[in-house]
Symmetry: C2
Subunit: 357 residues, 2 copies
């Protein structure tokens, strides 16, 4: 498999679109939690009913298409090797939880991988939709259309007062979680995230680093999402999130300007040194790679680095995760071997970039 083929396999087609505010917002995700009426929730561990849900989806939706979504394909966890499941997790098409449901877990994936519906995760159905850039309204609208498509052939567990019923009470109501993945290097550099995160939490939204553990944000990537699903309409949830994200975008842009004014040459040095590390190192740990990728992406957004595609951060953050590395190496790798493969893969990827330009 050539590197280009591998990348094509690793990167979902929708990632190549350029969305709104794509200098800061990498992607928008909408998730709807839904359950079937009069069927025990997956948390009940009732294998029989879970099998029925999987069967229902297979009969009604597999190989079908709706609106702009070309053919959906059902993938059953039972049919996948552990490494294949890991790759789907790293592409964010399934959750680690779903991967663990070997018997009855499944996922229905649209051709461009923009939509994925997890089956028998915490809820019977988890409809997920990804967009490049900041596209909350469009994403919600499409998610609702998908939801309608499912509802046409499925009876949802729904309560007149509470709304959609879910396994976990935190999802009851709209069952909606909207998340925005943002690249916030300047706010991180200027230590403003320490103030911004608690502020955002106060108004009922959640900020967390992605790819990192705990509060540390690898690659200076943060996800902002709504916490509440109950007592607010879907439109209100989206509107509140939209307004906060807009403010964060503004702050990040101002912080970038400020850093460039205050210490432009130091920032340029840092960015190009990071490029140098990615382009030349022979061993690189995940943490350092994330830091350097973040710097390079900032360099691209600031117009300092040319001839390197904007997607390189998101793409290489995915490609250099353990699952993909092992998929690429075609064998399981010890941590030190991963560091070697990671360096190789990044180097080859950057060379491909030079070659393409």
């Amino acid at each position: 498999m050539s590197l280009q083929d591998f990348i094509n396999e690793a990167i979902s087609p929708w990632m190549n679109d350029e969305g709104n505010d794509s200098d800061i917002v990498l992607s928008t995700r909408i998730r709807l939690a839904r359950n079937l009426e009069e069927v025990p929730f997956p948390t009940s561990q009732d294998q029989n009913s879970q099998h029925k849900v999987l069967q229902h989806v297979e009969q009604e939706f597999n190989q079908h298409s709706v609106h702009d979504f070309k053919k959906f394909q059902l993938v059953k966890m039972a049919d996948l090797e552990p490494i294949e499941k890991r790759v789907l997790v790293e592409k964010h098409l399934i959750s680690p939880n779903l991967a663990d449901n070997k018997e009855t877990g499944g996922v229905l994936i649209s051709e461009n991988e923009q939509a994925s519906i997890m089956i028998n995760e915490e809820d019977h159905l988890r409809i997920q939709l990804y967009y490049s850039g900041f596209e909350l309204t469009e994403a919600l609208q499409q998610a609702q259309e998908l939801d309608d498509w499912f509802e046409e052939r499925t009876r949802y567990a729904f309560d007149e007062h509470k709304g959609y019923l879910t396994s976990c009470p935190t999802n009851v109501g709209t069952g909606l979680r909207a998340s925005i993945m943002m690249h916030l290097p300047a706010l991180t550099m200027t230590n403003q995230m320490n103030q911004i995160v608690p502020e955002i939490n106060k108004i009922g939204l959640v900020v967390r680093g992605i790819y990192g553990e705990g509060t540390e944000a690898l690659g200076q990537l943060y996800q902002i999402s709504n916490q509440m699903t109950l007592g607010k309409s879907e439109d209100d949830i989206i509107e509140d999130l939209q307004s906060v994200v807009k403010q964060v975008i503004d702050s990040e842009r101002k912080a970038r300007e400020w850093v460039m004014q205050q210490s432009g040459i130091q920032l340029e040095d840092r960015i190009f040194r990071s490029y140098g590390v990615l382009a030349h190192s022979r061993i690189i740990e995940s943490k350092e790679a994330s830091k350097c990728l973040s710097d390079v992406r900032l360099g691209i957004d600031l117009g300092l680095i040319k001839h390197v595609s904007k997607n390189i951060l998101n793409e290489l953050m995915v490609l250099t995760q353990p699952g993909f590395l092992q998929h690429y190496a075609k064998k399981s790798l010890k941590p030190n071997e991963r560091d070697w493969f990671r360096a190789n893969l990044i180097r080859e990827r950057l060379q491909l970039e030079q070659y393409n330009n």
Copy 2:
């Protein structure tokens, strides 16, 4: 001035020759201290007699040639700007001491800059000769020929018992100092220099780092030279030095093999990261530049880095000294401006290398 012209100006032509053991020995230097009979030593501060020495050299040797040395040219310190003197110091054609002798200091330089005769430094004449690589015997022979040429038209201060008389007693006798500049990264990495240096000192030779201050060796470059000038023939001095340097060369080669066997991938990573820093940084201090240049040179010698010329270490160690940087910038530079110019110059130099190959 193009970078290539500047480099041509900065790099003495002899530096482009490839001498023996050039993977480890960068250059060989022979220096003979000589004084004129019945003329007070320069240390006496007798301006009048110093002027006469300068005049004598101008009349007898300026614009003359001998053997393979094409036309010698006399340069008087009085005619040079401070920056020009600094450049000559960084090319090792004159000493800082000579540069300070504004009135009567001078230097006679051969066309390929291999031979330079300092006038009115500590002694009336200091005949210096440089060779690329490990070339002690050849260098001594040529220095003696130059010495003979001078002696034909000059009466030296000489004592039947003591030999050549010099200002400083440590030079009396042969007046000979032979020095070998070596690149010893593997012996440094494996901490063997800490043992080797005292051993060499014990047998009457001196090891010191060059370009560094104190014991620290910038660029892992060390100079080994004889200390004694009295009580030993020139041939014996050279022979002793030759044998010690050969041993050090052997040890360095073995250490390189060992490091490659023990931690080849770590070493490769270090070397390529250093290349990345040199090729991409926008600000670089002298110390870091030296460390990276040393790594890259080792990478070339180990065959890991191709398409970069071997001379890059010696060349960039000279080019990135403050004098040359300011000469290149055509203005005096503050330390932080130097770091910026240094990074620029190194980057452009490496790009030139890619372009040439």
